[in-house]
Assembly symmetry: C2
Homo-oligomer: 229 residues x 2
Amino acid sequence: MANNVCDLKSCFLCKSCLKDWLPAVAANRKNIAIKKNRQLFNEGDPVTGIYFIYSGTVKVHKKWGREKELILRFAKAGDVAGQLGLGDDAIYPVSATAIEPCVVCFIDTYFFESTLSINANFTRQLMSVLANDLQESEKRMRNLAHMPVRGRVAQALLNLQNQFGITEDGYINIDVSRQDLASFTGAAYESLFRVMNDLTDEKLVSVSGKSILINDENALLRLTEEIDL
Amino acid sequence: MANNVCDLKSCFLCKSCLKDWLPAVAANRKNIAIKKNRQLFNEGDPVTGIYFIYSGTVKVHKKWGREKELILRFAKAGDVAGQLGLGDDAIYPVSATAIEPCVVCFIDTYFFESTLSINANFTRQLMSVLANDLQESEKRMRNLAHMPVRGRVAQALLNLQNQFGITEDGYINIDVSRQDLASFTGAAYESLFRVMNDLTDEKLVSVSGKSILINDENALLRLTEEIDL
DNA sequence: CGTATCTTTGAGTCATGTCAAAAACGGTGG
DNA sequence: CCACCGTTTTTGACATGACTCAAAGATACG
């Protein structure tokens, strides 16, 4: 990993920032290295700022009781986390945890807010991010309500491939535990497991260790389609 | 109902608009009366603009197949609908349907976009709306994944009471069909029905026709709590 | 090697959705 | 005022998807 200096070209904030605002950004950001499985913030914590992922992967999740959670989305290099601090509540409604070692760029709320009020372009971009997240969230919400687990697994795999791309040998370019995959699809560990077995048997996907390869994208896509009576 | 002239004090857009922009707003908005059960827009339609609800109630929903849907949220006087047109796609990802007669204020995309670029305050407010919607959406998403129907019904009722308030005699101030209530909790009609019966038997709620009264708010609240092992 | 963690499989249970039919309701027109 | 029809409500029986629990294999790790 490179040193922990924010690459101004990759950082969401810096990229959309006004030229003469850049020095201020540089002065106010703080780069932090996060180890695997360490939390960036925890739901219930007071909001202190917003994070821009510079490298690594983060899961944004919401807990249920002591043992369960739902992974809402993954954030990778170039993405934001903590934008929900923008709501009326100054409390993080979700948790964010590194699933790979990360370097993140932290901007405290105060500076962030003043940037918002000065930089309309940045605000506009962030708004776009929120709108897209909301669309995705509502789609998954409907799926959770109506789509069976099998379809949701298919959807989850397609989403991951879409977000993280594939390696040279075609495997989805992310390293997720089965447990996290289950939490992402909103299913029990064993349920996910069985479905993955089925999909493998049917040659729709191949698995090697934790790596997953999608053989038949269209077939997976079909699994996500609505079934009329 | 008053005539169809937008009350500038109630309209989300107008309220946050710059003084000298007001005439332009007045010139560019179009007030439309919508009958009950009429759609404002349908998922899949190209985005033409954004709607501000001036009076009445709208359900924002997403379909599954021909028969099923999930109601994502309700919008009442003062709320926005169609803000998701803000995402990267110029296609409405959801539908909006009046469940009571409505008067809405329509702003076409072009004017809306130019307002966004000129009026930072408005953009900021809209961003806040999106952030809050996203929080709510993600919470409900987790609930859909982990909370049993009984708890979700309780949550739905509390949400409705919270959003619409109560009438003089204590009933939740909204007129929803049972079918919509089911779609809002993400459950089958009959499931909702049985749960409502249970809650009534247990004196947690009272029902009179379509009207619902919450007797024991705390008990409902407890039903929405996470259960540790 | 022994302990811990993760994977895999089987069996059982339960919540929830599905289906079908009867009952109640509401409006409409004769 | 009543008969009729369409809709919504109500109830029961049933099917089954998905979760839970538990235990056996596998894999990693110090």
